[in-house]
């Protein structure tokens, strides 16, 4: 169990990186608390696996340091770092039985056979493969293989952290949910630092205390699910989290109001922004009210999604989505208002804090 510090980490796979584009990981500078449950969320290719491999020591970062509990481990081997990692591509040892696969990391560390047996049985029942213990791992199905791969990551009880790299991709939704709840329970019982990589926001939001959102090799925001939802620091977070994502439209500041097209939207304070920054207004569909009063919109489509409906409309020529409960009536001459609490201003994609400072 350890606090993990990533000190100005940058990584490029190529030999001589010059521009920002050459870096798979642009700059990561941040700390994972001891015993935290983190989710690393971001689209494919944003550098999640790269970051995990740097933490576990499979990769040495091009620049920067990594510390466990304040001790520099940047040049320590994977084994010495004592980290468990579950890979995106499930790895199983074909010629071994299911049991031996799970016992492998323990036996390699010379754990007494009695303890090995106990640990392996615990994990076998957790991943629901007890009856398969004696079977050769070779002929198993893809989801069973993924469970074994997951189990091997969980079997050790003395690790500094457990890293999961999209560990449940081929497991069916119900089993996925069961396993995720068990991971959470294991986390509460054991207090391991856990990092869970996924590109599925539901998975991230349900697993983690803190969600780390990555985009193009950078961490754009770290926060609780609520923070990510209400105050996205970066337009990408607004767009990636929530369904449908946040509405964005180009805007200009005039005094203490935002101007979108020919409409003025009052703000609480006067935002301070750089003079040439590209400004955008961001508002979540949940904070858009469609009623008889407000600014004019034209509705193009209404989608019924169970207990809610999504209104697709056009506001000053920009697309706008609104979410409302199923029984809300939509007037013939619809107008729109934005709840002040949901208003966000972005300058060059980054959020401008209320009160002025950027």
């Amino acid at each position: 169990m350890a606090r993990i510090t990533l000190d100005h980490i940058r990584h490029a796979y190529g030999p001589k990186p010059s521009t920002d584009k050459d870096y798979a990981l642009k700059e990561v500078h941040h700390e994972w608390d001891d015993g935290g449950a983190y989710a690393l969320l971001g689209p494919s290719g944003c550098g999640k696996t790269t970051l995990l491999n740097i933490i576990s020591g499979l990769l040495t970062p091009s620049e920067g340091k990594i510390l466990f509990d304040g001790t520099d481990v940047t040049h320590l081997s994977t084994e010495k770092r004592n980290i468990a990692q579950v890979f995106q591509f499930p790895v199983i040892y074909d010629t071994m039985t299911v049991y031996d696969n799970l016992a492998f990391p323990l036996r390699n560390r010379r754990m007494p056979e009695g303890e090995v047996d106990k640990r392996v049985h615990d994990i076998l029942s957790m991943i629901d493969l007890s009856e398969w213990a004696g079977r050769k791992a070779q002929g198993l199905t893809a989801d069973q293989k993924q469970k074994i791969s997951l189990g091997r990551g969980l079997v050790r009880s003395d690790v500094n952290a457990i890293l999961f790299d999209e560990p449940l991709t081929v497991i069916d939704p119900h089993m996925k949910w069961v396993l995720r709840s068990q991971l959470k329970r294991l986390h509460r019982q054991s207090g391991f630092t856990m990092v869970y990589v996924t590109h599925d926001q539901t998975e991230a939001l349900t697993f983690a205390d803190k969600v780390v959102v990555m985009y193009e090799g950078e961490i754009v925001q770290i926060g609780t699910p609520v923070e990510l939802f209400e105050r996205p620091r970066h337009t990408f977070v607004g767009y990636f989290i929530g369904s449908p994502g946040m509405n964005f439209m180009p805007a200009a500041v005039s005094g203490s109001a935002l101007v979108v097209g020919d409409q003025q939207i009052p703000l609480e304070g006067q935002p301070l922004t750089a003079p040439n920054a590209k400004l955008e207004l961001g508002i979540r569909p949940e904070f858009v009210r469609v009623a008889r009063e407000g600014m004019p919109i034209s509705i193009s489509q209404i989608e019924d999604v169970g207990r809610q409906k999504i209104v697709r409309a056009s506001f000053q020529g920009y697309p706008l989505a609104a979410v409302m409960s199923e029984d809300t009536e939509i007037p013939a001459d619809p107008r729109v208002t934005f709840e002040p609490a949901g208003l966000n201003l972005y300058a060059d994609s980054w959020r401008v804090e209320a009160g002025g400072q950027q």
């Binding site: 020591g57 084994e79 890979f87 995106q88 591509f89 040892y93 390699n108 560390r109 002929g139």
Partner: protein
Amino acid sequence: MNKTWNNKAWFLVLPVLLLVAFSAIIPLMTVVNYSVQDTFGNNQFFWAGTDWFSDVLHSDRFWDALVRNLIFSFVILAIEIPLGIFIALNMPKTGIGVPVCLVLMALPLLIPWNVVGTIWQVFGRVDIGLLGHYLRILGIDYNYTQDPVDAWVTVIVMDVWHWTSLVVLLCYAGLVSIPDAYYQAAKIDGASRWSVFRYIQLPKMKRVLLIAVLLRFMDSFMIYTEPFVVTGGGPGNSTTFLSIDLVKMAVGQFDLGPAAAMSIIYFLIILLLSWVFYTVMTSQDAKS
């Protein structure tokens, strides 16, 4: 269900059938024909039944050659398979080293058998050969034309030089097909170098190794050209393998009957041993 019989299909099989008939079945039947008859020339044949077979099986000459063959194949496999695996494991996986190594490895395989024999025949000569000459200078009493042990060593080293590459290339093909994730997982699991070999690399190489063992066994068991060129079967009979003996008997002494019987026995032994190898090496797959 009603199957429609279409006899035209036979025409498609016919070319293959003819090819196999001319290349394998008819020559084999000729040999069978010789093996059960006696001839004194003039195309006169007399029925000899299984006499030739029992003659061959009761001759020391046959058994001695067979034992030499078995020892030779065993030594060849015992050296070339581990050595081939070892070289393959240490070959580079990326960069400019890959094509360089592959070409170097492929070179011996491209040389015709009799040329390989000639190369080593000259190479090992004590008067003008590089190897023989310098071994002499180093004080080693080496002479493959007079010492049976030296003759064996020469033939074996020659075969290792010629054919280990085949094992290397096959194993290398198996090794490069292993995804990186396996090695990463092994590191995380704290696996030793030996465990990585035993549980990741060896299983991936198993199929190609089976092919390598079969090819090397059959080929070394049928070895003819190289020892014939280098030692001519000598000194004495020390490197007279079955194939060399067979040619001596059939071409040298014109004993067609016993030679034919021996051919068939030889053929059956290779068939049997290859089958044993195959069964043993694939039996584990069948179990799981």
